[in-house]
């Protein structure tokens, strides 16, 4: 019984350099999410409420209302802390990569829309100049690439799940 057959089918068409950088992309995004999650988990009292109350743009009212309801904001905080951490860990290790990628993409879309660099939106000054495309959107695009390529198989634990 050989695993390589299916793995070969999945990865055979890519060069080792391509697979290396695919894995690199995945691990780097994983590290980013894991650190974000870690910082929020270990902080004595981080809350998404501050960001949500001050989110500009067309969804400002929705975010503000959500952040004002105690049970909703508590759920969001727990979801954020553990979501970011688990997604980060999964991507870094290359395990349940598809699922983690979907999670990462969803979180990034949320961050993007909570502070969209659009024409009529006044976002806070930061490093860099952005119009429509900002780092959240770029990372979202990168995560989508992870989703459509066999990213968990390149130096990742998902390899172990490939059976004949």
């Amino acid at each position: 019984m050989s695993n390589n057959g299916t793995l070969q089918q999945k990865l055979g068409r890519y060069s080792s350099l391509q697979l290396f950088f695919l894995a690199f992309l995945r691990m780097v995004i994983g590290w980013h999410f894991l650190y974000e999650g870690y910082v929020k988990l270990t902080s004595s009292s981080w809350s998404a409420a501050g960001y949500m109350h001050t989110a500009p743009g067309p969804f400002a009212k929705i975010f503000d209302t959500l952040a004002s309801t105690p049970w909703i904001i508590n759920s969001i905080d727990i979801f954020m802390k553990y979501g970011l951490t688990l997604v980060g860990l999964a991507l870094m290790l290359g395990i349940f990569t598809r699922l983690a990628s979907v999670g990462a993409a969803a979180l990034l879309l949320l961050f993007y829309f909570s502070n969209p660099p659009w024409f009529n939106v006044i976002s806070m000054p930061g490093e860099g100049s952005y119009l429509i495309v900002n780092k959240n959107l770029v990372e979202f695009a990168a995560v989508m690439v992870l989703l459509v390529f066999p990213s968990g198989l390149a130096m990742g634990f998902d390899r172990l799940f490939i059976k004949e």
């Binding site: 019984m1 695993n3 870690y38 004595s44 809350s47 960001y51 001050t54 172990l160």
Partner: protein
């Protein structure tokens, strides 16, 4: 052949597992990096805090702030409101009383009920009386005069939110009747009233609270700790400000459509003008003087009693200063000189701040031109020579840029504008090593405390800590959002009533200090001299040109 295949399989299996686990060292690198960063942060944190000294003289206000109710008694208290105008209504909202027409006060969900009954109301304006009765659920008794209210033995405590000139008379009457008192700032309108009220309250032994609810903001605990630990070094200058830029901010309030003195032959007759001026100079009815009382010395205390007191009360709490030794003040009416109250062509009142003014607006015939007496640009300088400390206050009602409250020490400075932020001084000796090593950056706060999302965040930041640009960290979420600070202040008062303790958050001694401090500035402005507090003789004096000191008795 089979063996070979097996060997090959196993070989591939091991290689495969290695490839799969290739990401594990990355996790290891992550864990190690985080560990290094945390120890560096922690070291910086401890370094900064250890540079401060031990707290030798704990600020008594710290214990007062952390008061927890002792008694489990939760008997229903019968309170009365005297003066139920703008501020009075806010206080009643905070206590949980509101009419069906009012927007439900925010924060009620997070507030434990006070278990008080609004049992009586006294006010000089009929619509205010009507509101209070409605907010009480229809059961509040109406008293035309405060003297009659004080004679009602069933009232336990009184909340006083009248115009300043009635604070002292009503509070003294309440104390003499054995009723507990919550009175709004400024505690009194004059210096003699401050002495009289202090005596009355101490003699009666009632529970007294002065309405500086801002004391309840949680970030002052951090500020007091910073000061007590000596992290700022020697503080020689504190700056505080008030900036406003609207008619309402300048106390040019709206005047209702229907108004008129009770003694008039006809008309609305909803203002008890005679009682209003009984305590001041007799004058014919003037709606400006009744509804915009803060603009006049007869009834209000100007910028020093109204807004300076907010700043000085906080500074006094954080620094535990007492009454300053001297005061020099100046100011004038430089912007809001005259105001003509307007109405639409159809006779509907127009909001004082409405802009642009609707077409066809005409002056109201029932409201004379308002010519304010109290300054709209004002400054006061207080000094405590025994503490080598100066406080400078400056106010303008023609600009709304918030300038905050800044404590300047020789090692660092603290800004209380938006939470607590402490910055190292470029010439600091205490933090010199940290500045040189880059652990403390001069443009970034080295200690910061903010309320975010209703929960507190206490963080000691250093140059190596993560720099986030997100608005989330810069946003201040004062405690007042989900839980009203006025509610906390009322609760502090009521808890002390139930516990039979007089050491409230802002007790009569704090109130006396606040009143004298404010009036020193007013006297300096009005008399044009440097004013002194003579602690030995317990009097306020004026430095005359001749070098004499004249006692101020008004």
């Amino acid at each position: 052949m089979a063996e070979n295949e097996n060997e090959k399989k196993e070989g591939m299996g091991r290689r495969d597992f290695l490839k799969a686990a290739a990401s594990t060292p990355v996790v290891g690198a992550f864990a190690y990096s985080v560990y290094k960063k945390e120890t560096l942060n922690k070291a910086s944190r401890e370094e900064i805090l250890h540079l401060g000294g031990e707290i030798t003289a704990p600020n008594p206000n710290i214990q007062k702030r952390n008061y927890k109710r002792i008694a489990s008694a939760n008997n229903r208290l019968r309170i009365a409101i005297v003066g139920c105008g703008g501020r009075g209504k806010s206080l009643m909202h905070a206590a949980g009383f509101y009419t069906p027409e009012d927007e439900k006060p925010r924060g009620l969900e997070g507030q434990e009920p006070l278990n008080v009954e609004l049992a009586a109301v006294c006010d000089l304006f009929q619509p205010s009386i009507d509101w209070a009765v409605k907010a009480s659920g229809g059961t509040a008794k109406v008293y035309r005069t405060y003297q009659e209210l004080m004679a009602d033995k069933s009232i336990d405590a009184v909340v006083i939110a009248t115009s300043d000139h009635y604070h002292a008379p009503v509070a003294i009457a309440a104390a003499q009747a054995g009723k507990h008192v919550y009175v709004e700032k400024c505690m009194t309108r004059t210096i003699p009233q401050a002495f009289a009220l202090r005596d009355a309250v101490k003699k009666a032994g009632i529970v007294f609270q002065l309405g500086h609810q801002n004391r309840n903001s949680s970030h002052y605990d951090s500020a007091m700790e910073v000061v007590a630990k000596g992290l700022l070094g020697k503080i020689t200058l504190i700056q505080c400000y008030t900036n406003r830029n609207s008619r309402n901010g300048a106390w040019v309030y709206d005047i209702p459509k229907e108004h008129g003195p009770m003694s008039a032959a006809s008309g609305p007759r909803n203002v008890d003008w005679d009682q209003y001026v009984a305590n001041a100079t007799q004058r014919p009815y003037d709606p400006n003087r009744f509804f915009r009382w803060r603009c006049f010395w007869d009834y209000g205390t100007g910028l020093s009693g109204d807004l300076l007191t907010h700043e000085m009360d906080v500074i006094n709490m954080v620094m535990n200063l007492g009454i300053p030794a001297t005061c020099v003040a100046s100011g004038g009416v430089y912007y809001h000189k005259e105001y003509q109250t307007l109405m639409t062509a159809k006779g509907e009142p127009i909001d004082s701040d409405l802009y642009p003014v609707p077409e066809g607006a005409v002056p109201r015939p029932d409201v004379p031109i308002l010519r304010r007496e109290v300054p709209d640009v004002f400054q006061a300088t207080y000094e405590w020579p025994d503490k080598d400390l100066t406080v400078v206050y400056n106010a303008t009602l023609a600009n709304e840029d918030e300038r905050g409250q800044i404590y300047m020490g020789d090692e660092a400075w603290m800004d209380l504008t938006d939470g607590v932020n402490v910055f190292a001084d470029p010439q600091s000796k205490l933090y010199k090593k940290l500045i040189q090593s880059g652990k403390v950056r001069l443009r970034e706060p080295m200690i910061t405390y903010r309320d975010v999302g209703g929960k507190g965040i206490e963080a000691i930041t250093s140059a190596t800590s993560q720099w986030t640009i997100s608005k989330g960290l810069l946003y201040t979420y004062r405690q007042g959002r989900m839980v009203n600070t006025s509610y906390l202040h009322l609760k502090n008062w009521i808890d002390h009533i139930r516990d039979n303790s007089t050491n409230t958050m802002c007790n009569i001694d704090d109130g006396f200090q606040e009143a004298i401090t404010a009036h020193m500035a007013t006297m300096s402005l009005v008399k044009g001299c440097r004013v002194r507090w003579d602690a030995d003789n317990q009097q306020v004096t004026c430095d005359l040109k001749s070098g004499e000191e004249l006692a101020i008795t008004e």
